[in-house]
Symmetry: C2
Subunit: 116 residues, 2 copies
Amino acid sequence: MPAFEHHVFVCHNTRPEGAPRRSCGSQGTTDLHAQLQKLAKDAGLGETVRINKAGCLNQCEHGPMVVVYPEAVWYGNVQPADAVAIVQEHLVGGRPVERLRVADECLNTKTCPHRS
Amino acid sequence: MPAFEHHVFVCHNTRPEGAPRRSCGSQGTTDLHAQLQKLAKDAGLGETVRINKAGCLNQCEHGPMVVVYPEAVWYGNVQPADAVAIVQEHLVGGRPVERLRVADECLNTKTCPHRS
């Protein structure tokens, strides 16, 4: 058995001002992280889920980024208001939030049409 | 397809001196992280593997901690010298390094015999 049924990694990476790639950490991820923690606790998920800080997940153009393991579901442009859907639909209900998912062809590639 | 065949999270959490729980980040994880990155690159793993910084993984008594997803393999007391085994045996060879694994019954529990 893995330690967590869902292990949620929230990118908090912050680059210096003027850096060529975006920073998830300057786009509200502190609030997002706190919301995920509060809502997971309120939902009674206790020790089965961990909301974890992460460094750069290397999908910066789609940030703020969140990845949920072991299912390897990647969410992009995640705002604090999206925390309720991630907790209720995915972590409680077991159904990933499709509207927030980054398409497979946009992950881990330098040729994604969303990258400038 | 997930973004990475193996996504390796290395805890870098550092607590204030005198804190009751241990800090992975004060036990050589910067060197460990650098070794994992270098050896993964040298092994030609390229974009298929990411060595990622993580905040506290909440298994502090077994640290320095590393977790590899999507397979959810947890390694404890990981030293910089262990990087070669993790890269060669696990990331290249596909076989987790058994001598470094934290036992399932020691994960995510307050009653583990290793916790004081």
